[in-house]
Symmetry: D2
């Protein structure tokens, strides 16, 4: 490292309007000057940059992520009903094919049943006091003033509704979770703003508060946590299916008994390894759909947590379920209105208001298809191999 | 759900070549027929689909993800040295600006020091035996035959090198982790193939194996886990900086003491909530860089884990470090060769061979900038607020 | 292992009364015959075995566990006020001395402040349904019928009061936690009985229940868990003290700054290692007091979890707190009425009714004394050493 | 809290010898004076206090913990072979009976198979450096100098043998685990002393070390942790049995299928609740044996962790195993030589040298009996109930 770095040359910005094709091109030219590299493909995009304020700064072009379609996926949900062609943006080979294969299997049995169990987005302020005793007293006060707090919080937002405030105490600190429903938006910003307003009001009312922090690591935005797996962040959604053993054998070259045995070994492994997901690869499907539909992809960190639970039924049927406890999605706001993103949501008839629960169910159903597809592929391979290796398949 | 779903209409494929503009357009037309929706922007892309085999199936177009540039980032690494303009693909407003702000601060102090601590990609087969006793004996045998196993495994790959095999026992099962270095590729597929070959050889040699599964949930691909945080998956990398308090106050309107106090509360919160990352939002920067540079974005699930450790020095300086224990990146293979993705890697001079360590360090340095930026923003806000609330800022 | 084991010779029991000195002696004689070993000291006990039904089967004698006294401990609690001589049963050298040393330090600053934050003992039945949808509906029904369920549950117990029922859903299962206050008893049996009665009533009312299990691993009796650390099992209690740096140096040959630095390193270590307690050794004090006072010692498994949170104040004072989130204690029932156990509770004026909160606070205060004592001892050692090693102490 | 507490009256000590009946009596008298309470039963003990130095300070008497005998337990181990009558000290009713019942069942099938998988006791120093880079270099140096370090460490102990040093890096810190075998002692003190000596030598050799702490929370003594569950602390031991369904039905009024179903629900519950043990109640048996045999009972905190893994075999047999990953036991040193404690070890022919592996296997076998006993009891109840409730058992 040179001890005298040259003067820092900032990325150029255009005034008054930085969201134009020209401003983007100026940045690409600047980068070419600085680094010698070209951003020709990055500069190839089909929409007007004027839509981008609120989505990005220093806009320079686009990443073009290949998009494939899996489906039709048959969903037997409460909000999603029928067939869907699912857009998946990825550069990982076999991903689309694998999900597509699972969709074909579960179509054959009448589709994937989906249920949204809970819905809560939160911000988690921490309040500090002279000692634990005052923290406990404040907890009582919070419960008593929930209606007033709700009023203050909800005054900042059209669609956010404060459900309740959870409390977790340690030392002289009261950690809280302000839980909201947030309409069709994912709602992280909305809940932040509402909770901040609530905190200001609380601090004015309650002088015994020594200090507060708007986030005490109890909402764990963009981070996986046991608390979110237990208490939900975003949507908590279950996808279920019961598959006849014969169909597993015919379509997947697998079988319920071997798949179930593999799960037992995998469950113990996951319990030991401290994994946040005892399934196979829900992150794959979720990420591909998130990129395609303009979700905040960094939420894959927490949305990829999952509980897989299966049963080998007496008749050989295989009951398979996946529970996603912190799926963070929106059909409004964020990146959902961008050009390709909106098209992909519209492909699912999921753009705009009153669509987020439908979209939630489609994501969950997709995840289940991928779980069964990879789960059976792994086992099929083993199954074939174990036969080969032990000579039972020899001609 | 109708009891008699109509016949399933699969997504059309072209033969013999499905990777053409025409095939993609045929799919968009099909989707328009099926759903009425248009994929006009999705159909706007600048590269030849013939490069896509191995990256996607049912290619239909692209997701155009807005791309901004943060920087220059000054890195004092062992592989990355100097200034970098960092491409970030995201639709989340303030993300690029926030990272950019941190880069400016750490540029002023001479850059971010980065160190790669470890490097290992794995596959984790589980072996079952008659009883625990045979599992233990097999563990001894494994240790004794590591050289032969290495030879078999490495025969399947040019760049993969088997480092060692970790063992974790429970019941009649021996869980293992086959750890590899994988050159400039992320290496999940390479290690899968090598480990499979090794397992076949092992099973032939060791008849006491009752059964084996290629994956026992001890590599936790696309899933966050304690084992990967402890034992590394991909790169284990540290980024560090020591920032004078005066600079924090001047540039960030924050201060080392208050930031440190906020960390203490946040650390306890994270310990209680069972979070996999006691930092602020590493997933944001990692995701944006992963999309831009063609990484497997689903790996955000595990790559977003992080350990933040800070010290308030006697002179008021603030030592800040972030350790990313399972950062999974490649500069070769996967999506790295696609049109915009390759351009973004080239912008960093990180495309191709012998570049993965450089890229690793740039990602880690970027993450640190984002941590300090958000960390100080949160506290600055509190700081202002706490003054407002307590009357000390009143005119 | 011989394939034909000899016939199994059961431990003899006396009828009609197995709780006599003679019955115990007969068992000791039997064991002598069977094994040749003598249980002379085991046979030396000072109470009448007739008190033992409900405490043990096959009573044969006693384990004599050495008992030492630490104190006086000065407690500034809401239920415990003043000085206490604390009985500790252990065979581990330095344990009593170490706690005693901490008690001396905290006596000098006016005692340990203690606060009980929460109080809830639970049983956690799991209910299975046809699918997730019915599980969710049942959750709504549970909320609506809490009053009737409370009535049924409380009919089985004099002191147990049903507070609320928490719900955690996954797949087609609704996991619940029936939370009770249990008077002066630890209450595991009481809550089991009450919840069983409640479940029977529920199952009669709600035919859609496919199956239920009285325990679904969400109360984690005798096992440490994140859920109990978050949501409390038994008592959630905080002990706090603020210690002048001068006193730490004078009495402990330590110092607040070095202790604080050690904590930072230890906290990060604990976060990585996945520990359930970021303190030093709360299990030591809790175990010794549990054995002495007739608590269910196996609860050390969960009661040993703890959150330590400290602050280095501007003036050098060291604020030190420990939060025990699942301390399971009783002053009535179980082993509390046995001869030496009752004496030890009486020594603390904690035997019988309306004493459990007092006892809780004494345990927590004791734990804090031990934390500071060991914490400063470790650092004192380092401190001396680091000076020795670096030559600063050389004459 | 009074602001002027009376002068602190310390517990009296006798000089020169504090380990006499008189000194103990003097303390009981003192406590009577101070508190008015009597310690008559506490003062009733059968051994000479002169054996107690190194076991307790301020010896005042004993806790008399009721002791029952379960058995015979039939063990098919590598070190324990044949029948054992197991001493259990507890005040919890049904505990001895429940274990006894499981022992009877597993006796009928030829006993419990036990296997010790690993054996390692550790101390976990943390080393701090200028930056991560020096921490990494030190890690290389550590590996290169393991032989010299071993020599220094082993010079402090007769039975401790340094096996290896694990490394875990974060920030500018290298956390290590110095793993030892410790003969027949549990070995916490021995490994502490040896590691301290090693650290002194290391610090002298390696001036780049900025600071070190003898414990960095990576050995988690007296605390449950994922690292110890993964990497072993004390003994890692497995107990296994395969039980015919008919026997479960006849002797336990249970059945393999229902037990297996209950396990699946319980496993998912435990995965969600973040439990450290997916079994039933291993802490019960371990605690009762630990008190009886003079183990360090506070180690129940970590020794109670367990992995239960079962299989429902095709013929209806139920394979049941428990793995205890951090069972900390000794047959020499600590409390093992005390009067009743030694008798109880001798009852098992486990007192003294070369006995610790035998004792380990007996504990593990006992735990398995308790798991199956409670597991089947719970299910039997449900089974009966579910029949009652659904009318299938009605006459």
């Amino acid at each position: 490292m040179s001890t005298t770095p040259r003067e820092r040359v900032s990325v150029p910005r255009a005034t008054p309007d930085d969201y134009t094709r020209e401003a983007a091109e100026a940045r690409r030219d600047f980068l070419h000057e600085q680094t010698g590299s070209s951003l020709e493909h990055v500069g190839s995009y089909s929409f007007d940059p004027s839509v981008l304020p609120g989505n990005i700064e220093h806009f320079t072009g686009v990443a073009q992520v290949p998009l494939g379609i899996a489906g039709p996926l048959l969903v037997d949900g409460e909000h999603a009903q029928g067939e869907f062609y699912v857009p998946m943006a990825t550069a990982e080979g076999t991903l689309v094919a694998s999900y597509n294969r699972g969709m074909k299997l579960l179509h054959a049995i009448g589709g994937v049943k989906t249920t949204i169990m809970d819905d809560r987005m939160q911000r988690a302020p921490a309040f500090l006091f002279e000692s634990a005793r005052e923290a406990r007293d404040f907890g009582v006060w919070l419960d008593e003033h929930i209606d007033e707090i709700r009023e203050v919080a909800e005054a900042t937002t059209k669609s956010g509704k404060l459900q309740d405030i959870e409390q977790y105490s340690a030392s002289r600190i009261l950690y809280t979770r302000f839980n909201y429903t947030t309409g069709d938006a994912a709602g992280q910003n909305m809940t932040g703003k509402a909770t901040q307003a609530a905190c200001h009001w609380i601090v004015e009312q309650y002088p015994a508060i020594d200090h507060f922090f708007l986030e005490g690591n109890f909402a764990t935005d963009k981070k996986s946590s046991q608390i979110n797996m237990l208490r939900t962040r975003g949507k908590r959604v279950v996808a279920e299916a019961t598959i006849p053993d014969g169909l597993l054998k015919e379509m997947m070259h697998s079988g319920s008994e071997l798949m179930y045995r593999a799960r037992a070994v995998s469950n113990l492994g996951g319990f030991m390894s401290g994994v946040n997901n005892n399934g196979s690869h829900s992150a794959n499907g979720i990420t591909a759909m998130f990129i395609a539909t303009g979700q905040d992809v960094a939420n894959v960190a927490e949305s990829s947590a999952a509980f897989v639970y299966t049963e080998l039924r007496e008749n050989g049927d295989y009951y398979y379920s996946v529970t996603i406890p912190s799926l963070i999605v929106g059909t409004y706001g964020g990146g959902t209105g961008l050009a390709t993103q909106r098209e992909c949501l519209e492909l699912l008839d999921c753009y705009g208001s009153d669509k987020v629960r439908k979209f939630t169910e489609i994501v969950a159903a997709t995840v289940l298809c991928g779980e069964i597809s990879l789960g059976s592929a792994v086992v099929a391979e083993e199954w074939v191999e174990s036969h080969d290796l032990h000579g039972r398949n020899r001609p």
